[in-house]
Every structure is written in structure tokens, then in C-alpha cells.
Symmetry: C2
Subunit: 431 residues, 2 copies
């Protein structure tokens, strides 16, 4: 991956560095960077901050969040204590914050609740999907009923989705069948109850075609469950528009909610009345403070709640979502593609041919918001990159991941990252 | 509930107020109160702080927690970002904090993990218990195998336990049978797979006999799952000593972890190798960063983990647990009983006969750390109490709950609470 016009180890004053400056100057989203804390505690005085290309793993801290959390802890918990369940809006936080996420994933209000981990929400969604399919008509073409006994899962899925899908299958009497998303249409049948897919592959950064795959699932009379962990906040999702049945996602990547921030569950409005959660906790009861021994599911998205919500983490997320005020997801997507295009261009220029191979599709319609490069000794390479202030991450056995978070990553960051990568790869190869 | 020697509305200088001062002066736990924030934001200058008797719902804020959370947010997340998963000990927090809770509930290390809500942990524990019973011998007397198809649940349980137990039964092909704990021994049979019991009843404050009930469950060849929400941190539990199989509990009541702080799961060491969680997320994998498509459960308590842990809430809890340094649970229990004894004495003295009825057992061995009083118009009564700085809570239809948290409640608080209660009840009855 090199052309013949650029020497390795090109200085920051080179042609592409100039281009980066021009792109940053023209970037309408560039001012958003000031909404985040991006200090590098290890940087020498006067040195540049780290280039943080790991926001696809843990989003950076929005600058106003610490004061908000301090208020939640000191005043809401410390002074108001139990009164905050009402007075500080704690009780309704899961659905209120769900509605705040909704526009970022193309959902009308009232269909998303926040809470629990992504894994737990995958469980609710898949068991819920199987029960929906078995209890009534869900699509235009498919037969209904107990006969549907197969769950299909993206064969390249982030592992937890596969493990949880296996458990959901076991508990509902289904078989789990891993399938490559490209081969999904051929794998669908009238045995298919539900299909769990990742919008963007966590390893390669490949974007799957949500509209056409959802349509194929529906044509087979099954339900589509999408995992949005690597797409929400990076590109338009269009849950409502494309008829997605259920979806889950985390909030600590492109949504910057903080480490282990609660995940969310989307249940399409038309399915809510029959959504039958395998985790019917008291928070999803129609009358939670009635303390009734019999369970009656609440109407609406609240039905996806389970136990007492994790308030500190949840309100950190709520504050973090304010950085999206006035931000267009389409603009974020445009910048994301421009960043990864530019990164691939710089890598081609700065990295000698053959030292890395990109796993990330070139076509925009197949690319998420990260670039995955395969190379030997990738673990060592990433350590050296981090030591030089370029933070990505390493996925075994041989993948370097670089995430592009348009709210706070600029083109100069990208140019520097590719330049340092070229230097490190030459060093490692020579060594 | 009155004697004839005390007028209603006795002033704070009365006989029992003097007794309260003496009891507080002799209380070796009294200095612990300074470890908590107990300011009353509504109190006029110079007025007493509120008497907070709702720590059995939401524990008060330990004074050092806000600064610790600030460090987690500003430095660990804001500056170290992704590095904190290793460098700040985020990844191992669930088991590390579990080991911190362990001595409070009589467990050796390596058997508790923190994470998820109580409801979600009840689900793991019950499905896990049924699978354990069906997969091999678990007790001295009972037959093994698929024939065990009944889950028994405390008929007076906190509702979420019952709802989740119903779901666990449905998904494992069991029948759920509610049974009064007093009648449990007669209800056990060779059909019983697992029994879910509350150590302390959330409404009445009744303490159930964990040792004898666990022994009865074992004698029937079944497994005992205990919910410790209303006992952990208030009285000795003795999980290891009494052979409890699985247990769950929340951390935001007597453990003061903060609103919606993560719950915990105890899996007795001898069951861990065969514990088969219905929520096998990537965090419970033997090699979580191997990203393997096949699931292999981690050894030990880690097997109870699911998804990415909720770091802000979890590390708030970890900090909060430091208030227990050097504190004996036996001493806490002794003070708890002294507080509730004194409260009942003061209520008898200050409340005219017939206005309230106590639902809480008089016998110490049957009493948790709260007193529940039944009266007409209890909702209105509680509102008036809160307006006068005595904070308990109301449970429909007619119950006033007063929780006694020995780390920060004193005898003068108790005397004042009973005195104001007497005044309010006379007022409401007259009105």
C-alpha cells in the first residue's frame, strides 16, 4: 500500500499535512471538538495531544459531564436522596434517554428504553422476537406459529451476540445457525424465527445493508434484530424507515456515554403490545408501585425495562447526549467517510507496499466508521503507536483498528496517525 | 399502642429523649455517622437535619464518594480513556468488588460478582439452580434429573422476584408455586428444583430463618436461592456457613452504593464448575479477548458476569464499601435491634392506642432492620412525616416503613421519629 511519490516518514509539513489543514479549516463539525476532553496526561509540555482513534471502543469524555455527575452525586443523591426518584426524574430516565437516542437512529419517540448491558438486551430482543413470531403474524409472507425454530446469527458477529443467541435459542427450543450476512437471503426459510445481525462488523468495519437484509428477513416471515453498537452515532440507521423489528446498541462508543454506560433496546411500535420479555422485572410492570403479585406488562417501550435503573451511569449518558444538540447525523456520516477515505489515502502514501492489508471495504456503502488493517505483529505495532500518541486498538490475532469519531477527530489527526503508522511499520519490519 | 404515663406530643426533653442521648453517648458505632452526608437541604438554618429512615430503600451518600467519582470521570475516563480498563482496574471490578461484599454476607472470596440489576441476577440464579439440580447431585437426600420441575417462591416476595421466577420457570419447563415461607417445609417434594426466598421481607421487615429453611430445601434435594436485598449490611447472613447455594442482593440499601447501583450474585464454590448461566455474555468467557465464536465459561465467580460492567456506578459502590472498614456486622446487628426496639418502645409511648399496628415481629430472631406500621391514610401520614423531617416510605395500601441503618441513624433520631409520628397520627385522626 504505497505509491512511488512519497518517501516514508514524511514530515508533518508534507503535501498531505497541508491537505489535512485545509480539510480541517473547511470542516463545519470541527468546533464540536471543544465539547470534549482530549488532553493527553502523558504528553510533554507543548506536545500535541494524543490522536484518539479508539472512540469506537470508548468515546471521549464530553467536557460538561463531570459537573453534571457531580450534581447527581452531591445534590440528587446526597441531599435529596430518595426524593430524587421523582424530583430529579430518576424513575423516568430509561425512556426519557431512550427518546434522546431515538433521532440518532431514526426512531420516533416511545420505542427505545435505556438500561442493562448490550448482552442482556440482545437476550430480551431475541427471545422476544421468537415469541412474537410464534404468537401471531409479523410479516407479509411468512407462516406463523410454533414451526419456526431457527435463529440465524451473523457468523462474524461480536462474540457476545453469538453466545447470547445460543442461550436464547436453547431456552426457546430453537436451533442457532451462524450465517455470513452476504449469504443470509439464501439461508432464510419458513423455519426462521429471528435473525440477529450487526449493522457494522466490530472487527473489519464492514457496514451491512440494513434495508435490504431487513426486507429479506421480512419476506421470509421472520423478524430482524439489529445490533447497532458500531453504527449508532456514526452513520444514519433509519430504524423506523427500514422496518427494523428490534434493535440494541451500546452507548459508550460513538455516543460517548462513559465506560460501561447502559445499553438500549428498540422495540418497533407495532410489536410493543405483544412484546413478551424474558426479563419481566418490576420496572416493566404496568403499575410498578402497586407491588402486585401478578405481572402485567406496561404498555410501550417501558416494557423493555427490567430492574432498578443504574442512575449514575444513566445520567452521565443523558448529559453526554447533549453534545449532539444541533448536530446532523448525515453531516457526521459525510465527515466519517471523508476521514476514513483520507486515512486510507495517507496509509497508501506513507506505508510501504505490502506491510498492511485493509480489511475495510473501499466502497462507501459497505464501510462503517473504522478502518481495520491486518499486519504481522499487530499487538506490538499497536503498543508502539500508543507510545507515540496514536491510540487505536488491537484485535487478535492480527488486526489494528482505527475508529473515526467525527465529533472530535480531525483530518490532521488522521494524517498524523497514518504517518506514525508508516514509521512504526518500517521500524518493526526492519527490527 | 400507648401506655398511660406519657402525654401525646411529649417534648424532646422528656424521659425517652434523655434515654436516647444516653444510648447515643454509649454507641460505639456513633462516630460512623460522620462518614455520611446527612444534610437536609430544606432545613432552616440551625434546624436539625432530617431523620433519614429510608436507608432500606436508598442508602445515604458516603462523604468521600463524590471525590472518588470525580476522579473516575475526570481522570480515569477523561484522561486515560481506554487504558483504564487495565490501568484503573475497570475490567476486574466486578469480582474485586464482589470480594469486598463477601465478608459482609459471610462468604469467602471468589464467590461473588457485582453487576446487572437484582432482577437480572435472580434470573441467572434461578435458571442456573434448575440446571444444576437437573445435571447432577446437589444435596444429600434428593434424586437428580429432569423430573424436578417445580420452583417454589416466597409468596410474599418483592414482586420482581416473583415475576422473574415465573419467567425462569416458563423457560425451563417448570411450574412456579408461591408458598408462605412458614409453610415451605411441607411444600417441598422430589419435584422441587429450586426455592427462591427473601431473607427479610421488604414490606413487613420479617426475618426468615435462613439456616433452617436452607437445610429443609437441601433435605429435599433442591437448591436454595436467597434474596439478600433487605439483610446484607444490616445483619449477619452466613452464606458459606449455612450452605446457601446461590444468592443475590442489591447494593443501594444498607450497602450505600448509590441509586440503582449494580447488584451481586453469589454462587457457592462447589456449584461454580457446573453453573450454567442463561446470560453467557463475553465477560464470563474463559478468554474474553480471544473473541472466539464458541463459548467456554470462565472458572469461578466470573462465570456470573454478562456484558461490559457499568463502571461509574460500580466504582461508586466500591468507594462506598470503604465505610465498612473496621466495622463488625455483629455490632451493626446489635445496634439495629436496639434501634428498632427503642423505636417500638417510643411508638408505644407516643402513639395513642389503636392508631397503628406493627407488622414487624417482636422477636429479635424474626426481625430485620426495619419496622413496618400499618395505619389508615398511610400515604398522607408519610407525606406529613416527610414535611416535618422524618423520612420513611409508604407501601400501598396502608404501610409506613421505617428503616434503621446503624451506620448513620442514632437513638435521638429514632426518638424524634416516633414523637413526630405520634403528633402526625393524632393530627390526622383528629382531622
Amino acid at each position: 500500500m504505497s505509491d512511488t511519490t512519497e518517501p516514508v516518514g514524511i514530515p508533518a509539513s508534507g503535501e498531505r499535512a497541508v491537505t489535512a489543514q485545509q480539510l480541517d479549516a473547511a470542516d463545519l463539525l470541527a468546533p464540536l471538538r471543544s465539547r470534549f476532553v482530549l488532553d493527553d496526561p502523558d504528553a510533554a509540555d507543548g506536545a500535541d495531544d494524543a490522536v484518539y482513534l479508539d472512540g469506537n471502543s470508548l468515546g471521549a469524555l464530553p467536557a460538561h459531564v463531570p459537573d453534571r455527575i457531580s450534581d447527581v452525586v452531591r445534590r440528587q443523591w446526597g441531599e435529596l436522596r430518595i426524593r430524587s426518584w421523582d424530583e430529579s426524574g430518576w424513575w423516568t430516565a430509561p425512556e426519557r434517554i431512550g427518546d434522546r437516542i431515538a433521532p440518532l437512529v431514526g426512531a420516533a419517540p416511545g420505542q427505545i428504553v435505556v438500561g442493562d448491558s448490550t448482552s442482556v438486551n440482545v437476550f430480551k430482543a431475541l427471545v422476544g422476537a421468537v415469541r412474537l413470531v410464534r404468537s401471531g403474524p409479523v410479516g407479509p409472507a411468512g407462516p406463523v406459529g410454533e414451526g419456526r425454530d431457527e435463529i440465524l446469527v451473523d457468523a462474524t458477529t461480536f462474540p457476545t451476540d453469538g453466545y447470547i443467541a445460543e442461550s436464547a435459542a436453547r431456552l426457546t427450543g430453537c436451533t442457532l445457525r451462524p450465517v455470513n450476512p452476504a449469504e443470509l437471503p439464501a439461508a432464510l426459510s419458513d423455519r426462521t424465527a429471528a435473525v440477529l445481525l450487526n449493522h457494522v462488523d466490530y472487527r473489519t468495519g464492514r457496514l451491512h445493508d440494513l434495508p435490504s437484509l431487513t426486507a429479506a428477513v421480512h419476506a421470509a416471515g421472520a423478524l430482524a434484530v439489529w445490533d447497532l453498537c458500531h453504527s449508532a452515532g456514526a452513520l444514519p440507521v433509519g430504524l423506523d424507515e427500514h422496518g427494523v423489528d428490534l434493535a440494541v446498541g451500546c452507548t459508550y462508543k460513538y455516543l460517548n456515554g462513559g465506560p460501561g454506560a447502559p445499553a438500549y433496546l428498540y422495540v418497533r411500535r407495532c410489536h410493543q403490545d405483544r412484546f413478551d420479555s424474558p426479563l419481566p422485572g418490576w420496572n416493566s410492570h404496568a403499575e410498578p408501585f402497586g407491588m402486585r403479585p401478578d405481572y402485567e406488562a406496561a404498555p410501550g417501550a417501558v416494557r423493555g425495562r427490567v430492574g432498578t435503573p443504574d442512575i449514575l451511569s444513566m445520567l452521565a449518558l443523558e448529559a453526554a447526549l447533549e453534545v449532539w444538540d444541533g448536530v446532523s447525523v448525515a453531516a457526521v456520516r459525510a465527515k466519517s467517510l471523508a476521514l476514513s477515505d483520507f486515512f486510507l489515502e495517507c496509509v497508501t502514501a506513507y506505508v510501504p507496499a505490502g506491510l498492511v492489508e485493509s480489511l475495510t471495504p473501499v466502497a462507501h456503502e459497505e464501510r462503517g466508521s473504522q478502518v481495520a488493517l491486518r499486519c504481522p505483529a499487530a499487538g506490538d505495532v499497536m503498543k508502539r503507536l500508543i507510545a507515540r500518541g496514536v491510540v487505536g486498538d488491537f484485535r487478535r490475532p492480527d488486526v489494528l483498528r482505527f475508529g473515526f469519531t467525527p465529533l472530535y477527530v480531525g483530518f490532521a489527526d488522521v494524517e498524523r496517525a497514518a504517518r506514525v503508522l508508516g514509521e512504526v511499520l518500517v521500524e518493526v519490519t526492519a527490527g
